[in-house]
Point group: C2
Chain length 352, copies 2
Amino acid sequence: MIYEGKRVVVTGGLGFIGSNLVLRLAELGARVTAVDSCVQGCGSNIFNVAPAGAKVEVLKADIGEPECLTEVLRGVPIIFNLAGEISHIHSMLYPERDLELNTLAQMRFLEACIRMTPGARVVYAGTRQIYGAPQYLPVDELHPVNPVDFNGVHKYAATMYHLMFSRSGDLDAAVLRLTNVYGPRMALDVPCQGFLSTYVRRTLTGSRLQIFGDGTQFRDPVYVDDAVEAMLLAGDARRLASREYNVGGPDALTLTEIANVCTAAGGMEAPQYREFPPERKQIDIGSYHTDSTRLREELGWQPRIRFAEGIARTVDYFRNHLEHYMTPGVTEPECKLKHMGVERGAYRLMPA
Amino acid sequence: MIYEGKRVVVTGGLGFIGSNLVLRLAELGARVTAVDSCVQGCGSNIFNVAPAGAKVEVLKADIGEPECLTEVLRGVPIIFNLAGEISHIHSMLYPERDLELNTLAQMRFLEACIRMTPGARVVYAGTRQIYGAPQYLPVDELHPVNPVDFNGVHKYAATMYHLMFSRSGDLDAAVLRLTNVYGPRMALDVPCQGFLSTYVRRTLTGSRLQIFGDGTQFRDPVYVDDAVEAMLLAGDARRLASREYNVGGPDALTLTEIANVCTAAGGMEAPQYREFPPERKQIDIGSYHTDSTRLREELGWQPRIRFAEGIARTVDYFRNHLEHYMTPGVTEPECKLKHMGVERGAYRLMPA
């Protein structure tokens, strides 16, 4: 790949996927700047990039205030754009916060990119949530867009910005639509980060898993190294044949199968089935399974890590670094947003 | 129709399409409240609803500050939601303003609707701009969404809010995707409201028309009474078979044909052809022609007014009321936003 000696910016670089990407880029010899706002509830953790030491520059800055990013963006050829809030539940509780973090901030950031490094390759971390409840399986990139929550709407608006600026030639973007990503450096101390974050947390504490519904829903989790590889390929490709790529895992597993793998790894008692809580039912999408054919055919990507192996690696990582990811004795973290003056419909990230 | 004696709210009720709808609803015996923020640049004009006199209640209020709307929304069964900014050009110059007017304000407004009148029918004025440059003609509702400007992105985000809340049962929305609408009460004193606004203005002043490009592009303008009829049908239908409906005109005409009709009505010299200015070329979508089959089959709608007839009626209206729509001597209005402290990327509608 082309990364050796290359300047690269990673937004959300202290978060879960971002930090794994930053570490891999550092290994490949890139000159990486990790940009992160360290906003509460988005999973940033400075320990995540500790292994890279001085090989990575960390810049605490908000992409929604891109004046701070002028110099770091100037002429940079590749930007991995992962900053944002991923929680569907948070987005329903604090929709204005989600709009500002996932849409307004992206608008400002992309305008800064166009000004400071026109035509740059931007690899954006999108989400399969934009498809909503699948009309067919597996879901390919031509599936209609039907988001069921604010997070999906706002991430899709940001996707449209990327595509619009690519069409006009101002940027050269690739949008990866990621399904459930898991692995080392997940945010375990933030609630509502998706069921896999909860499952990994409980696997580490030995707490019994809960399955919402009857456990027959499908998901195809992606191990974070595979997701990172997809991003590197999208950043590397000389010319992109497409702008949007689905990124799914190697296996479609039922929630029961997923829970059983975790339960075996953590030695808990068998998972417990319960009704969907209403606020989750409203935004549940049923079964999901990705068609990643385009990414394989156009960029040569293949997911390599199967779920049991990925969970084993994940558990192994966290067992060795638990103090950096969980407060002792706290099994289920509490949502801190409500204690921060963040109110439903009233939160404003940016001062006027 | 069901409107007699019925309470109805129309947002953007002093604007071009909104006011025509308000007048028609008043004729049908509805108890109409016209809500309008009177924001500069969006075309609101109190004279538009003068013919209804005391039969219409006018409430100066911003849908982005829905606290003022609590009482008017309480239990109202039908809401026609037309408030917003329609200018593609303004949206590219002032994207944050467009995000706030077309997305943030809609988020707040719909939350207020859900709180005050859960399950209400909401008819939203969407736009064909979300389709971007057509991949095939005529464009039906299954055409992929590919907006080429901020206005398209932000109106589509608001569309997704309407659909999301309909899926969850909180509202019962219909989104009409309107193509170029023209007719009496167009905003002639606001620039960048689409080429038909410019053509009508020049027809009235006898100024020669300009055609960008070679004039072979297709458009299918809709006379405002036909657009209003589509809205009334969508508000009236007991149960909607679909959530999204295209609304196009009776004829696909080339820009040359459209210009020639106006030129004949205004008695100007023949239109002048010129290159697209770059800022317009970037967001130009090429030819567009609507497939309105769904609206015809499911709601029995048919556009009735052909373009030459519609232009004749439009010119006739404005000739009789010109002083309410144009400042004498001003052929091309100037964009006032830049004189209002509205800066590119820095405008904020709402105080923090």
